[in-house]
């Protein structure tokens, strides 16, 4: 049985350990294929430039998926109940991104927590921001 974070072990204000990693173009293409978003803007620099973009970009859905995995790496698989995101800036691949989150509220009745969650670019600019609800043990 996969381990699930315990509600009593979390406090409001807790910050998750940030995760940084290099997001490659090949990984974005793999997502575009698997996620049914095979389009030049997500797969090909030249095709993306023809659409007025600076180069191929990461699908918003992929950013959301990466953030969901980040939250479940902390709380355990199957714990995410809700995730809401706003795509504020272009997430360009072949760069390092940083995933961050903080607990904003605990709900005793449902043993769930609310979090602020965001994805940063290399200049610490918040390219994707959102909130999430995670159910704990």
């Amino acid at each position: 049985m996969p381990e699930r974070l315990r509600f009593d072990d979390v406090e409001e204000g807790d910050e998750l350990s940030a995760r940084s990693f290099f997001l490659s173009k090949d990984q974005v293409r793999a997502y575009a294929r698997a996620g049914g978003q095979w389009s030049p803007r997500f797969t090909d620099d030249e095709g993306a430039r023809r659409e007025g973009l600076p180069g191929m970009i990461t699908p918003g859905n992929m950013s959301m998926g990466i953030l969901a995995s980040f939250l479940e790496a902390w709380a355990g698989p199957g714990t995410l109940r809700r995730l809401g995101t706003t795509f504020r800036g272009l997430v360009l691949p072949d760069r390092t991104i940083r995933l961050c989150a903080a607990v904003t509220q605990k709900d005793d009745a449902s043993r769930s927590v609310e979090l602020d969650v965001w994805l940063e670019g290399e200049e610490a600019e918040r390219l994707v921001i959102g909130t999430a609800t995670v159910a704990l043990a």
């Binding site: 294929r33 859905n61 959301m64 998926g65 969901a68 995995s69 479940e72 109940r81 809700r82 995730l83």
Partner: protein, 142 residues
């Protein structure tokens, strides 16, 4: 209501599509593309379930209802964000019914001018009638 839209459009279902069945290979490829390594999401077998954001790939058969397509050029749109409320997990073999409604249409004025936001709500359920997810997809048009 911006765009001289009939308010009756809000909440009205404009598309119902059934997709699938979902295969184990599809679920595994999706999860691995996100860098997942956990067996629940990446190993075929009875315990395999979809990554929680797998549901966002389902968008039904029609992007917007006809009334909106007369007023908005879909190609001018950008994905502005999404809200997902998760229900039962998607499993291999599931067929996915996607019901699409216009949830909200609103206008904002920013530094670069006026923008129209269209929120399409996709309600996903499986062949057992279980709710899989409610996805609010927010599109921005200049």
């Amino acid at each position: 209501m911006p765009l001289a839209l009939d308010p009756a459009i809000i909440g009205r279902e404009f598309d119902r599509t059934v997709e699938g069945p979902v295969t184990a290979d599809e679920l595994v490829a999706f999860a691995r593309a996100l860098g997942e390594t956990r067996p629940e999401y990446t190993e075929a077998g009875p315990a395999l379930v979809a990554h929680p954001t797998y549901c966002v790939r389902f968008r039904g058969g029609r992007f917007y209802p006809e009334e909106l397509l007369k007023l908005i050029d879909v190609r001018s749109g950008f994905d502005a964000g999404k809200d997902i409320q998760l229900g039962a997990p998607v499993r291999p073999g599931d067929t996915i019914e996607v019901r699409s409604t216009v949830h909200e249409v609103y206008e904002k004025t920013g530094r670069t001018g006026s923008m129209v936001f269209v929120v399409i709500r996709y309600t996903l359920s499986n062949q057992r009638g279980e709710m899989l997810a409610i996805v609010d997809n927010r599109f921005m048009h200049r």
